[in-house]
């Protein structure tokens, strides 16, 4: 029982009301016996546990980045305690440390958004090792040969059966698309620069890949929309392509649900001809999002620190490496995708970086519907997730933004609209951007709210939302968000006063997707041939058994657990 807390639960229209939250059997319940354990949350902010929709926390590229960057370990490490393991890493923390750090901030669910299907086993091994939080991973489909072959033949049903089989086999949660067609072109040393470019050796365009997979997503009734990292990421002028990407599925929107999610939108909202004429395209992108309900986006905010970029977008990382001239990493994942890793330092005085910083915040402040804009740093691409409290303070306080802008490249700041934006997020809007809306977008019905039947994942922060003025006293909010007073996970107290008091393993959600029976039957005949033709492994060896997951939590499409 959590007594007298000031509850912010936007999914249930509760905004800063003093309420008691009763917990039983790992769920939020209507009432508990008088003998129940009580947490006195008087004067504290009570919210659902945080739900991060996009954070690269596990998998082969995360691990490759750890190997590439031993210097990232030396500058930030945690010693073991009686309860927690030791760990290292500032931008790419080791698995256990990742779980502890999220938990300390009150996060209870985190999504790994880019898993090469062939490397899914590795991803799950790391997810198994990340304690404290529930998680899920998104397999990559946007450059997959099978997907492209089905779609170039116009066989959407076959593609749906393939995607369903892949999600079941890799224990994935949603369809991730990265630089559709572009990573395949990168296998040949090229890239794709527009929605209607032809993918080399395939009779298909990015537009057709996105539309095809959007249709597949709807056929399979997957809980989350297609999760898209558009072409041209990180290239000046890319905002128009981002809008075209969103618009290419506008006619496919169904019953008010999002048809497409654009990930880390800051990196694809650049205007200008080249780096010297770079401008913010946030106004145009946010304008489109405001006018079209079928789109959701997340920020991809950058933080001024040393961090590590990592993406399946190999050609983009090559460009970044060429800009910097330092070490990088590149991988080719057979017939599926690729990857690149480049360490970066975002600098306040750098014109491009200061512009990027402003774009992320402009997007968050210009998109009007708080259910469709989510807070991320695209960890670790924009900065480590441990910077979230700082991002929250920028969202909640114009003064915090002005303070930050003082030390920045002024010619960049002068060219953005950020100084003229007065909007400041309320606690309810912060709760949406960090848990309520993300859980809804992911279709995680038991997450992101505190109504009866929800998972008992609760974050309690030592700040009184009725008394504090976040606009002026943003430091108090930031401090409270860094170290939650209490975190409840599945009904158990796991964090107290910002320290882990109980180490638990989290669940891994995946979608037990099925195409209609007739299509599944046809597909079973095609699958082993597909693997014979294109893979170094057989289909039978590709499948990850359910018991490989430490705590498997399958979700049946259309809602509910199995």
């Amino acid at each position: 029982m959590i007594r007298n807390g000031i509850v912010v639960d936007p999914a249930n229209d509760v905004d800063c009301e003093v309420r008691d939250i009763a917990i039983g059997g790992g769920k939020i319940v209507e009432g508990v016996s008088p003998s129940a354990k009580v947490i006195d949350a008087r004067g504290m902010l009570v919210m659902p546990g945080g739900v991060d929709i996009h954070s690269h926390i596990a998998g082969s590229k995360t691990n490759a980045a750890r190997m590439l960057r031993p210097e990232d370990h030396g500058r930030d490490f945690e010693r073991k305690t009686a309860l927690t393991r030791s760990g290292v890493g500032h931008s790419i923390p080791s698995t256990f440390t990742t779980g502890y750090r999220y938990a300390r901030m009150g996060y209870t669910t985190v999504i790994e958004p880019a898993t090469p299907p062939l490397k899914a086993r590795h991803t799950h091994e790391e997810l198994n090792d990340i304690p404290m939080i529930d998680k899920a991973c998104f397999p990559l489909f946007g450059n997959n040969w099978h997907v492209m072959e089905y779609l170039e033949r116009g066989d959407v049903e076959g593609c749906a059966a393939y995607v369903a089989w892949m999600l079941r086999s890799t224990k994935g949660y949603a369809i991730k698309i990265v630089n559709p067609g572009g990573v395949e072109a990168w296998h040949w040393g090229g890239n794709i620069r527009g929605l209607d470019w032809e993918v080399p050796h395939f009779d298909i365009t990015p537009r057709e890949i996105i539309r095809g997979l959007c249709r597949v997503n709807q056929m399979l009734k997957l809980p989350h929309a297609i999760h898209v990292h558009p072409n041209n990421l990180g290239k000046p002028g890319n905002y128009s392509n981002t809008i075209k990407t969103m618009d290419c599925v506008r006619d496919m929107a169904q019953d008010g649900r999002a048809a497409i999610h654009i990930a880390h939108c800051q990196f694809t909202s650049f205007k200008g001809e080249d780096w010297s004429t770079l401008r913010s395209g946030a106004e145009e992108v946010a304008g489109y999002v405001n006018a079209n309900r079928h789109v959701t986006i997340d920020m991809g905010q950058i933080i001024f620190t040393a961090t590590t970029t990592m993406t399946a977008d190999g050609p983009f990382e090559y460009i970044l490496h060429k800009l910097q001239g330092r070490k990088w990493y590149n991988a080719d994942i057979e017939a599926e995708t690729g990857a690149g890793i480049v360490p970066v330092v975002y600098k306040r005085k750098n014109f491009v970086n200061a512009t990027q910083w402003a774009i992320g915040l402009e997007l968050a402040l210009l998109v009007k519907d708080p259910w469709r804009i989510y807070m991320t740093t695209d960890h670790p691409n924009g900065g480590p997730f441990t910077a979230y409290p700082r991002v929250i303070s920028w969202l909640m306080s114009k003064r915090a933004r002005e303070g930050a802008m003082k030390g920045m490249n002024q010619s960049a700041i002068r060219k953005t609209n950020l100084p003229s934006l007065d909007r400041e997020y309320s606690f309810a809007e912060v709760a949406m951007a960090t848990r309520a809306a993300t859980a809804r977008a992911l279709g995680l019905n038991d997450k992101g709210h505190l109504g009866e039947g929800a998972d008992a994942d609760v974050a309690i922060y030592r700040v009184n939302p009725k008394e504090v003025d976040p606009s002026n006293d943003y430091r108090a909010v930031r401090k409270a968000m860094r170290r939650a007073a209490y975190v409840i996970k599945e009904g158990k107290m796991v964090v107290k006063d910002g320290e882990v008091v109980r180490a638990i393993g989290g669940r891994t959600f995946w979608v037990d997707a099925r195409a209609p029976d007739a299509i599944e039957a046809r597909y079973r005949g095609e699958i082993s041939k597909g693997f014979q033709d294109y893979y170094t492994v057989q289909a039978e060896n590709y499948v990850i058994a359910e018991d490989y997951l430490a705590r498997s939590a399958p979700i049946s499409p259309g809602g509910g657990g199995r």
Binding site: L68, R69, P70, E71, D72, G74, K80, R326
Partner: protein, 275 residues
């Protein structure tokens, strides 16, 4: 001046994390406070007091702190980390990361020193009477920021990857060095009194490396520039004659190798390429 003498209470069997031993950490502290500073013995948290006997004495006034460790310090890591002033003397062998990231003051070792001596240091001076291990004055693993200033003098020999990613300052090794001396070097000077194993200056972009003894070979990505009689290394003028190579050309580098002409007859064929 305050003199602090530390004597190990016994033989250490596991590595000791001893970064608390710096003149700054000891300044204006009582002996009890000094000995309460944290150290790690293997994976066990402990204090300096449980590892060392301490003696503190005052000598003719002044703020300066002089620390002396008497005995085998080869298991102690990161002694003098980030120190800015004062004196640190090890009468015996020193362990890994001695003087890491130091900015000032002096460090003296009467015996040998371990690897990572003066790693990414910015200022001050280190003198080792014996030999040093690998990575003298280097960058931390994975980082591109090696030694930036100050000087390291090793009377004996040094191991591999000396001055890796070095950005400035002066390293002088009295005897021989291992492979890949000055790898990734950007600036500063390395003077090797003895021989250098293979791949000296690999991927260097700037700076200078002087080899007085035999250089096992010159990487093919270096090009001979001239022969000259003397070169400046730190404060001194070193007499040759030397072959001067420029490279590493795979990095568009303009680093220079000064290789003793007399001790390297196997490089004589390069003379035909000097205009």
């Amino acid at each position: 001046m305050t003199e602090v003498v530390l004597r190990p209470k016994g033989r250490f069997s596991v590595p000791i994390e001893a970064s608390a031993i710096t003149p700054e950490n000891f300044a204006s502290k009582t002996p009890e406070q000094m000995m309460a500073l944290e150290a790690w013995e293997g994976n066990r948290r402990t204090s300096l007091g449980s590892l060392f006997d301490v003696e503190v004495g005052e000598v003719d006034g002044g703020e300066e702190i002089a620390i002396t460790i008497v005995g085998d310090a080869s298991k102690l890591r990161r002694v003098g980390k980030g120190m800015r002033s004062g004196r640190l003397t090890i009468e015996g062998r020193a362990g890994m990361y001695l003087g890491e990231a130091m900015r000032g003051g002096t460090v003296t070792v009467s015996g040998d020193a371990g690897s990572w001596l003066g790693a990414h240091m910015r200022g001050g001076a280190i003198e080792v009477k014996g030999d040093a291990g690998d990575y003298v004055g280097s960058a931390p693993r994975g980082s591109g920021r090696g030694m930036k200033g100050g000087q390291i003098l090793v009377h004996g020999s040094a191991g591999n990857e000396l001055g890796c990613w070095m950005r400035g300052g002066f390293i002088r090794i009295g005897e021989d060095v291992g492979q890949l001396a000055g790898i990734h070097m950007l600036d500063g000077t390395i003077l090797v009194g003895g021989d250098a194993e293979a791949r000296t200056g690999a991927q260097m972009k700037g700076g200078r490396i002087v080899v007085m003894g035999r250089a096992e070979g010159i990487l093919p990505s270096f090009s001979i520039e001239e022969a000259r009689n003397a070169v400046r290394a730190g404060e001194e003028r070193v007499l040759g004659p030397f072959y001067v190579f420029v490279g590493d050309l795979t990095e568009d580098g303009v680093g220079r190798l000064y290789i003793s002409k007399e001790r390297n007859p196997h490089l004589r064929f390069y003379e035909s390429y000097i205009e």
